[in-house]
Amino acid sequence: MSNETARGRLAELENTLETIATASPSGLAELRNEILGRKAGKLTHLLRSLGELPPEERREIGAAANILKGRIEAAIEKRTAECESADSAVGQSEDLAMPARTLWRGNRHPVTVVVDEICEIFKELGFTRVVGPEVETDEYNFTKLNIPLDHPAADMHDTFYLSPGVLLRTHTSPMQAHTMEKYQPPIRIVVPGQVYRRDPFDPSHSPVFEQIEGLAVDEGITFVDFKAGIDYFVKAFFSKDTKVRFRPSFFPFTEPSAEIDVGCPLCKGSGCSTCKHTGFMEIMGAGMVHPTVFDRCGVDSEKYTGYAYGMGPHRITMIRHGIPDIRLLYENDMRFLGQFVE
């Protein structure tokens, strides 16, 4: 054995200190045998071979080897103790009621959850999910939907204009027109999106809120089919035994038009302050597509029929969770948002 070889082996053995520090109990036994084993231990072997070196080298390397032997033995001892205490920590004295180490959890906004759920249900009825721009023209927001600007019907939409003829959409219904112009029936779409009304912020109004619009156009769609579609949605979204009520109403883009009430999900119809003691809650406006809308969007109103509906996920979210003030949904308070764990 040469001088260099001996030094190289020492350096190599020194590296094993790191391995020992993280070794498992069985790994420790192996390492002990490999290094300090009486027959084949590398360090044992090195110490035995010292005699092959010149005397002055022998003393120096011998000293270094013995120091290393001490360090390795100490390291093995220390690691053995660690492993034993880890064993006992799991097995004996821990109070398992102590809290876990957790990660932050985030969730979707409660309005998004409602929007997604609604879209998913209509997906089961073959509706695809599409979106459109928030900046619109009054042609698409009003005219194509049979809402004359010089008629009181337009008062139902207090509009933010950006410039003459350009506005922030007051409903997601302009996508009815865009879609009918671009695609041939069968059309079945559900359109979520943000809409705008010139309503000052108060507990039940916001100038910006979410709306979901739906449109089905094909041959053979009737009022009976329309009722079935809406009924399917209400029962899937609220519960199987929810009462659904269709009331005549007026929207310029549907005829016949209907307002849809559901049995109050809070009091189950017995009357409470949220449903103004009627047992019912208004959740959407809907109806059969007005032939004038078909005509203005290039669909043959003699051949095709269809239905459309629109609803407000903010309101539905407030009903669902008993949220008293719409502004809470815009404050982004961590203590509020954190309540809607998914």
């Binding site: 990660l103 928030e134 933010f160």
Partner: protein, 778 residues
């Protein structure tokens, strides 16, 4: 619109229950916002008879009464001078509550126990007392509820009338609608003391005359029909009790007999009327367009600027009323008025709407004219108004009324195909049934060539095409009566919009990272010179569309700080806007902010969790960029995101915020969201051979970035390189630059690497780092 259930009941000749009526009307399309019972606060008061009256032993002015309440006879002390044995009075039993929250208790009055109270009119909130307690007619049944016995009970429905149904804005219309369902005819209530007017209006085309006033119609577009009657010898004063009560019940304040009469006609027949002081008109009424710059002082004492689009009622010289909106102060009736000209007109809906928009005022009259009144019912309305005024204010008609009506309305006839009903509604209706239904609603129906010809009544301006008739059938049949049955559907020809999938992906990645989804108003203060302003904003705080999401999220962080929440983690996806020469540019954007602890505290580290730092921000940013595409670059102390054309589409860094001393820094980013085209990932072989690791501690001179070094490592190490990761950075004064340590993992797909192979590869790398970048091993 307030509707009195009692009034409607009387018109239909049957007693209607308020709730039931409200329900029926709701199912016809006119839901009630509220049902307000009248006299409900007097529900506890019953009719009682005083059987015996004796003097109170200790008080001259008090009487001891034996009161029969129908079930028992009680002792009641009464202080009224008019209490008389054998008479009936309203009685408030012990435990009842009178208006003003006055609770009736059992009590002793001068040593004598009194059980309940006999009430006066004022105690019941029914007006002034005449002489003590309220004596009731002997026909009032003892023990019955007082409000029922005197017919006071009523309920007011506040109906929510849709803009297409002006006919439901009056009691006649509501009674007619209910009558169609109940199949009951309605009739108007008799006017006490009225003599039916028998005068027939005299029709003319352009000009007519009434009571010495010449009526000239110059603007037949703004006013297709103008009628007027003249009455002389009236005496302006308070209305009789019945009229005042009927108006008060529906929330209209009585003013004087003439005004009350016109208001009554408004709420009964939906015909707005206006009474001019006839003597102030100078013998002439002209209906003409306003002149530009003309002004009028209206009844509310406001001076109004008129424009050429408005229709005015004028006398010989001046405007005396804004047609269909409001009268002028100059021709207003006063207590001295003895003759009136009573206007009954049809003003064009669009003109009225434009006028009241320009004047920024809406009145009961303009509200009805802009929705369209019944032009065919005007003669009857005028005749009834004349009878009513004469009944309540005296006087007589000066002459036959004038009726300037150049082009009488031609009845509208709509054809209805029976097969179309089934095609739309999904249920077939026999033709004779359809015919009966439409007839009940007032249409004049006749079969013609297999179709039905339906003539539309004047009060239904909303019915103009076939589908409108089909809606009437559905409505009268009852929406809830239709079955609920789905037909098979074909798949939509419209594909799902992939951007919605991308948004969902972002939401799922960022909620998993512990952030909550935020929603902020997209209206706010100006976000720079590119911000798109909104015309007529609600406030300067909401005057612009947002140009970015991030500032709103920083405001939300400040909100959370204000409530002492230090740890805030929010993201939002939504539209942002920019002003351009044409339509504003609208793009989808994604932003996130984090501040405070990067993990919840845990006892194992003594509650000392670390705060979010730049490298957490970089991780979040990379998460987003992985979804939306792009690459990072450095710009000062911020990262920017570049798209494939090198355009900046995002930025990340420390955000300025109005922070309290205890707050942690706010890290945030925003990036534009566009669809990136992505195919499916192609499989690459999973290596089976073991890897070798080598650590390189390198000294980087100033100006050399880790990305340069990493690029060089990749190039020079060659195909054996599997991964390269920085695991340490060390800066110290004695170093010329900084020390960065990389762990390099080498692996060959073909063979098990030996140390020699690794050492050679690393040596190559070290050499080339030194030669090309001046980077030395530490």
């Amino acid at each position: 619109m307030n509707i009195s259930v009692k009034w409607i009941s009387q018109m239909l000749g049957q007693s209607l229950d308020a709730r039931d009526t409200a329900h029926r009307l709701a199912m016809l399309g006119a839901p009630a916002d509220s049902i307000d019972p009248v006299g409900a606060d007097l529900d506890d008061i019953i009719v009682a008879e005083v059987e015996l009256v004796e003097r109170h032993p200790d008080a001259d002015r008090l009487s001891l009464c034996k009161v029969n309440t129908g079930t028992e006879v009680l002792d009641v002390v009464c202080g009224a001078p008019n209490v008389t044995a054998g008479c009936r009075y309203p009685y408030a039993p012990v435990g009842s509550v009178l208006p003003g929250n006055f609770k009736i208790k059992r009590r002793k009055i001068r040593g004598v126990e009194s059980l309940g109270m006999l009430c006066s009119a004022s105690e019941l909130g029914l007006g002034a007392d005449s002489d003590g307690i309220l004596e009731l007619e002997p026909s009032c049944e003892v023990g019955s509820r007082f409000t029922d016995a005197v017919g006071l009970a009523d309920a007011i429905l506040d109906l929510d009338i849709t803009p297409d149904r002006p006919d439901l804005l009056c009691h006649k219309g509501v009674a007619r609608e209910l009558g169609a369902v109940l199949e009951a005819p309605f009739k108007l209530l008799p006017i006490p003391g009225a003599v039916a007017s028998t005068t027939t209006p005299v029709r003319s085309e352009m000009e007519g005359s009434v009571g010495g006033v010449t009526v000239t119609l110059e603007d037949s577009e703004g006013c297709p029909r103008y009628m007027a009657a003249a009455i002389e010898g009236i005496k302006v004063g308070p209305s009789p009790e019945w009229l005042q009560q009927r108006l008060s019940a529906i929330g209209a304040r009585p003013i004087n007999n003439v005004v009350d009469a016109t208001n009554y006609i408004l709420f009964e027949l939906n015909q707005p009327m206006h009474a001019f002081d006839l003597d102030k008109l100078g013998g002439q009424v002209r209906i003409r367009k306003a002149n530009q710059g003309e002004k009028i002082v209206t009844l509310d004492d406001q001076e109004r600027d008129l424009n050429e689009g408005m229709t005015m009622i004028c006398d010989a010289e001046n405007a005396v009323a804004v047609a269909g909106v409001m009268g002028g102060a100059n021709s207003e009736i006063s207590n001295e008025t003895t003759s009136v000209l009573l206007e009954c007109a049809y003003f064009d809906p669009r003109t009225t709407r434009a006028t009241r928009n320009a004047l920024k005022m809406s009145t009961d009259a303009s509200y009805r004219f802009e929705r369209g009144i019944d032009i065919d019912a005007m003669s009857d309305a005028l005749r009834r108004a004349v009878s009513l005024i004469i009944a309540v204010a005296g006087g007589r008609e000066l002459s036959k009324p004038v009726d300037v009506y150049p082009r009488p309305r031609q009845p509208v006839t709509i054809f209805l195909r029976p097969e179309r009903i089934e095609k739309l509604l999904g249920v077939s209706f026999p033709l004779d049934e359809v015919s009966r239904m439409l007839t009940r609603l007032g249409f004049v129906v006749a079969p013609k060539d297999g179709r039905l010809a339906a003539q539309v009544p004047g009060w239904r301006p909303d019915v103009t095409i076939e589908v409108d008739l089909i809606e009437e059938i559905a409505r009268l049949h009852g929406y809830d009566e239709f079955p609920t049955q789905m037909i098979p559907f074909r798949p939509s020809s419209v594909p799902n919009d992939p951007i919605e999938g991308l948004k969902a992906k972002l939401r799922s990645v960022f909620t998993a990272a512990g952030l909550h989804e935020a929603r902020s108003l997209s209206l706010g203060p100006s976000g720079g010179e590119n911000a798109q302003p909104v015309l007529h904003p609600l406030s300067s705080e909401e005057a612009f569309l947002r140009t970015a999401i991030l500032p709103g999220l920083v405001r939300s962080v400040e909100h959370n700080w204000a409530v002492r929440e230090r740890d805030v983690r929010l993201f939002e996806v939504g539209a942002v806007f920019e002003k351009t020469d044409g339509m504003p540019r609208e793009t989808l954007s994604f932003a996130a902010v984090v501040t405070g602890r990067s993990n919840p505290e845990h006892w194992s580290n003594g509650g000392k969790g670390g705060d979010y730092d730049l490298w957490d921000l970089k991780a979040l940013l990379q998460n987003a960029v992985e979804v939306v595409g792009g690459r990072l670059d450095q710009d000062g102390n911020d990262w920017v995101v570049l798209n494939k054309d090198g355009e900046k589409i995002g930025r990340a860094g420390i955000q300025n915020a109005d922070a309290p001393a205890w707050a942690a820094p706010v890290f945030g980013f925003e990036v534009e969201v566009t669809l990136k085209r992505s195919g499916h990932v192609a499989y690459s072989a999973v290596p089976r051979n073991p890897p070798l690791e080598r650590d390189l501690a390198l000294i980087l001179p100033d100006g050399v970035s880790v990305s340069q070094v990493e690029e060089e490592i990749r190039k020079s190490t060659g195909s054996l390189l599997e991964s390269v990761v920085i695991f340490d950075e060390y800066r110290a004064d004695d170093l010329a630059g900084r020390s960065v340590a990389w762990r390099i993992v080498l692996r060959s797909p073909k063979k098990t690497l030996r140390d020699k192979d690794a050492d050679q590869a690393v040596q190559r790398t070290v050499n080339s780092l030194r030669d090309r970048l001046g980077v030395e091993l530490r």
